[in-house]
């Protein structure tokens, strides 16, 4: 689980990009963010890499689950 809460955009999407590269394109990846712009940015990146994204929201925080 990548915790990107409190990071201003575009840092969270870069954290996800690094994790995807370092993990050699893992089949599943979870990331927590606290801004809608980060959800959108990560969703765009995930789509470009062939991942599907599930977003769960609770108390203004978003958990994104990326799956191949």
């Amino acid at each position: 689980m990548i915790d990107a809460r409190g990071q201003s955009c575009p840092i969270p999407v870069v954290m996800v990009q690094d994790a995807v590269k370092k993990g050699n394109r893992p089949a599943e990846l979870q990331v927590k963010v606290d801004a809608m712009v980060c959800v959108e940015n990560i969703t765009r990146y995930a789509a470009s890499q062939g991942y599907t994204v599930k977003v769960d929201e609770a108390d203004g925080e978003y958990t994104l689950t990326l799956k191949k």
């Binding site: 990009q17 712009v37 765009r44």
Partner: protein
């Protein structure tokens, strides 16, 4: 060395991305009591770039103010960009900037060299524009900010607003799009040196040459493309003129690196704000999402969007080529059909 401080680290948003959204702004200003004056040719009721007040039959004043937090780490470059951006609103109205006042916020501990360099950048651009900086106002603030309040002159009959576009007009644009993406990506080191150099060159190029060319021809409407993006400013033009815009996206100069970064999800928050303001009025056709995103990208000191009479379109386009960073013939204006305001093809 003044460059030891990283200016953009002190900024929460990048440049025009710091702008309050167009929709929010309209709401905030919605119920203000405004004194009416027949000499006020352009006020804030039409969401135009600057206000214009007629003084005599031959002279009107154009007034505008624009300032924002650092968009570049080099203070001199930041000063140049902020001034270029502020002066642009006068050019967009067809006017010539004459007088300006510095608007500045500085953190207590900011080195005086850096403050001096920001101001020097502003003075140099103002000088290039033929504008005199006559004073200003500075306050202490955690986040540095700089810009200008600019007064320009225009002939009252030659004011260009964003609400005069007519069906049949040809749409021209004078700078490429993607500056906001490049400056946002630069904050995380993802912009190449070439990309950043291009962004800086664009953001420090005055819209003076574009203005000087366009006033020679029958231009019906003009606006500068800044924080609200091509789509946001285009929508304001379409609504203000009660027309619809048809854009040929292949003819729009989208900075290649910005499109690549958009595909990687490296996009400024302002892009999403612009989308939520405008996208309900836009028919995106089958244009790729990343390219659409760049059309919604907030520009700092972007180019002019010009609606020109079709009979003058070729000549103005030729006049712009070689004198502006990127002359583009991006689409046409059509009679409003009652549905969407902007169509992407």
């Amino acid at each position: 060395m003044e460059n030891e401080i990283k200016l953009t680290k002190l900024a929460k948003c990048a440049g025009c991305g710091a702008k309050v959204g167009a929709g929010v702004l309209a709401q905030l200003l919605g119920d203000m009591k405004v004194r009416r004056d027949p000499n006020l040719i352009v006020g804030f009721d039409k969401s135009d770039d600057a206000s214009v007040y007629k003084v005599t039959d031959d002279l009107a004043l154009v007034q505008t103010v624009d300032f924002f937090p650092p968009i570049h780490d080099d203070p001199y470059t930041f000063g140049q960009i902020a001034a270029t951006n502020a002066l642009s609103d006068v050019y967009a109205m067809g006017g010539e900037p004459k007088l300006a006042l510095n608007v500045m916020a500085v953190p207590k501990d900011m080195p005086s060299d850096a403050v001096h360099e920001i101001l020097r950048g502003g003075y140099d651009k103002a000088y290039e524009a033929g504008t005199i900086i006559t004073g200003g106002h500075s306050i202490l603030d955690d986040e540095p900010k700089y810009g200008l309040a600019v007064t320009g002159f225009v002939h009252p009959d030659k004011v260009l607003t964003n609400s005069g576009a007519k069906p049949g007009d040809v749409l021209l644009l004078t700078k490429p799009l993607g500056i906001g993406v490049l400056t946002t990506a630069a904050k995380v080191g993802m912009t190449t040196a070439e990309g950043m150099a291009l962004a800086v060159r664009l953001m420090t190029t005055l819209n003076k040459a574009a203005r000087d060319a366009m006033v020679q021809y029958r231009v019906h409407a003009c606006t500068d493309v800044t924080g609200f993006s091509l789509m946001g400013h285009g929508l304001e033009m379409a609504q203000g003129s009660d027309v619809e815009l048809h854009l040929d996206v292949r003819a729009i100069d989208l900075i290649g690196e910005a499109v690549e970064l958009a595909r990687l999800g490296v996009l400024p928050e302002g892009m999403y704000r612009n989308r939520s303001f405008a996208e309900a009025f836009v028919d995106p056709g089958d244009v790729e999402l990343a390219r659409q995103d760049v059309l919604y990208d907030p520009q700092t000191a972007g180019g002019l969007l010009i609606a020109v009479d079709p009979a003058d379109a070729d000549r103005l386009y030729d006049a712009l080529r070689g004198t502006v960073p990127s002359a583009q013939r991006i689409g046409t204006v059509k009679t409003y059909g009652g549905g969407k305001r902007i169509f992407l093809h």
